[in-house]
């Protein structure tokens, strides 16, 4: 049981990084990025291509060490975020969503089709996992990975907090709350949005690298649009504009997904497994709707945006 919970926690934390990144882009900057999974994919594949053991049929598979893979993933996603942001940020709200969505779909299709680099549908394997050789049992490795994830998560959380309190962060909030005023004060809204977008994308790339380091395998099927929906659901259910909400949402939504599966196996006999599976999905849908019906602002709602200096 403990071993499973450790594994579960690792996944939740990886998804949590994605949710935090999305929160930066949406909650704090107001950018509707519906292509989360695209950046996740870029990070994941870059890490895989850089660190996987060399194979003759693949152009990549450089076999470099883990930290190099992670940094490369972040760099690649930052670049992608910058390019995509340049094109899409000036689009209005839902249009930005559809554009980023399309970009993510295209990225997945590239991964699926560009075999010499990405392995095509077969995916890539033998991806380096941090210090895997030190651990005899999967439990040992997973526990160490969990520790690593907690450290990374804490760093990200703390860093985001600092960034958002910094002058840069305050301008961002100002732009979100009242763009005209902020622009009147001489701040380039577009530049700040782009920076926030790039920063968010970089974190998503990091999450991708962490994911493949954990699983050890990557394929285009890891990056279908459903993942974007799941991350968004996590943010909305937890409460956007709010980093704690993001993490809580990641936990709750993933728990719903996994837990509904367990529940169905306990209640439905295997002979009706197909209907049981349909019921599982119905349960997930119902729970999502119910949470939102009762807490439309998310479980932890939006944190107050009034400055804490207001009473000074």
């Amino acid at each position: 049981m403990l071993a499973y919970l450790v594994f579960f926690a690792c996944i939740v934390l990886i998804l949590g990084v994605l949710t935090l990144a999305l929160n930066l882009q949406w909650g704090f900057t107001g950018l509707f990025n519906a292509g989360v999974v695209g950046f996740y994919a870029i990070g994941a594949y870059t890490h895989a291509i850089v660190t996987a053991a060399p194979q003759p049929q693949y152009v990549g598979n450089l076999g470099l060490p883990w930290p190099v893979g992670v940094l490369a993933a972040m760099a690649a996603t930052a670049l992608a975020g910058w390019l995509i942001g340049l094109v899409t940020i000036r689009l209005r709200g839902d249009y930005l969503a559809i554009a980023t969505f399309g970009v993510a779909v295209s990225i997945q299709l590239v991964a699926l089709n560009w075999e010499p680099l990405t392995g095509g549908p077969q995916g890539l394997t033998r991806i380096s996992r941090p210090l895997a050789q030190l651990f005899e049992t999967p439990f040992g490795f997973n526990l160490w990975f969990l520790g690593l994830m907690i450290a990374i998560m804490a760093t990200i959380y703390w860093a985001l907090d600092r960034v958002l309190m910094s002058p840069w962060g305050r301008v961002l909030k100002a732009i979100r709350e009242d763009e005209t005023a902020a622009v009147a004060l001489g701040k380039s809204a577009r530049r700040f949005r782009l920076e926030a977008f790039v920063l968010g994308s970089t974190l998503m790339g990091l999450a991708g690298a962490l994911y493949v380091s954990f699983i050890g395998f990557v394929s285009p099927y890891d990056f279908l649009p459903i993942v974007t929906f799941q991350i968004w659901a996590m943010l909305i259910v937890g409460g956007s504009g709010n980093n704690r909400g993001a993490l809580l949402g990641a936990l709750v939504v993933w728990a719903i997904w996994a837990g509904s599966g367990v529940l169905v196996t306990k209640l439905v006999p295997p002979s009706h497994a197909a209907q049981g599976a349909a019921i599982q999905v119905i349960l997930i849908g119902l729970l999502l709707m119910l949470v939102l019906l009762f807490r439309p602002r998310g479980l932890i709602g939006e944190a107050a945006v009034v400055s804490r200096h207001v009473n000074d």
Binding site: V87, A99, W232, P296
Partner: protein, 296 residues
């Protein structure tokens, strides 16, 4: 040339579905991801009717008889009502609480999951068919082959769209709908009964979706994912045409259909799924509000 014909056929179906999407986007201002499930429900409702009455013997060049058309009409009514019911149960409650549009989007996502898997629960995943007949395409122009069924579908789709356009521009309720799409607050000030317009919007969207669903089901099979598979094309079409605009949705639908089919002349079909979005991106770069959209 064949690709052009194919594009028009795909486009007609996408256009029908996109109309409902653009209305909800324009009038109720939220992206209803459950809309595509209305297509699926429409197809299955018609299937139920056909199960009783039969699809009808092939009439003329078509593979089905008037019974299928009747079934489609029944399905349209049922789906319209279903759409309204889903709104009443879920979306209206959220609207009343002033929920953020994104909350509505995810409630819709949840609703879509439920709707799709209710179909699975009742009918299972296997594919179903209205009729077992297989049509042979006739060559209407040199190098262009189409099925008579498909011409019928395009014709019917265009008729529906023209009918709707007339309704929107000539009737009072139609104009009320367009007013609401422009500005709900102003519309209310003018005395337009918001809830009535909303109800009508859902019913019309649902009915059109049902037609689209039946058409997909005809060419050539029905299964629980048919709506979901076109969801993104629908949204691409609606946005590319300009939200809230009926002509926009129609033009958008045809453009998306054409893009998907024509692009295969140059690129590998493996990338076909990305086409609606690349097209959308291109159009949005040039004209960010969509083709017929209003600059806000």
């Amino acid at each position: 040339m064949q690709a052009l014909a194919d594009g028009i056929l795909t486009g007609a179906v996408v256009a029908l579905g996109a109309i409902g999407v653009t209305f909800t986007l324009g009038i109720m201002r939220f992206a209803n991801f459950a809309h595509s499930e209305l297509l699926t429900w429409g197809a299955y409702f018609a299937l139920v009717v056909v199960a009783f009455a039969g699809p009808g013997a092939p009439t003329g060049p078509l593979s089905f008889g008037w019974q299928l058309v009747a079934a489609a009409l029944v399905a349209a009514v049922l789906t319209g009502l279903a759409a309204w019911a889903v709104d009443a149960l879920v979306f209206r409650r959220l609207r009343r609480r002033g929920a953020h549009p994104l909350t509505m989007v995810f409630a819709a996502f949840g609703a879509a999951l439920v709707m799709r898997h209710l179909v699975v629960l009742v009918w299972g995943h296997e594919s179903r068919y209205y009729t077992r007949e297989l049509q042979m395409a006739t060559e209407v122009l040199p190098g262009v082959r189409v099925l008579p069924d498909q011409i019928f579908i395009v014709g019917l789709a265009l008729a529906a769209m023209i009918g709707l356009h007339v309704f929107l521009t000539r009737s009072r309720t139609g104009m009320a709908m367009r007013a609401m799409a422009e500005s709900p607050a102003l519309a209310q000030v003018c005395g337009i009964e918001v809830e009535g317009v909303v109800r009508l919007t859902w019913i019309i969207s649902g009915a059109l979706a049902a037609f689209a669903g039946v058409f997909i089901g005809l060419t050539p099979q029905i299964h629980p994912e048919i709506g979901f598979n076109v969801l993104l094309s629908l949204f691409a079409a609606a946005i590319l045409g300009g939200t809230g605009s009926l002509p926009g949705a129609v033009v958008g639908g045809f453009l998306v259909g054409l893009a998907e089919n024509l692009s295969l002349l140059v690129i590998s079909p493996g990338y076909k799924g990305a086409m609606p979005f690349l097209l959308l991106l291109l159009i949005l770069i040039v004209r960010p509000q969509g083709i017929f959209g209003e600059r806000s």
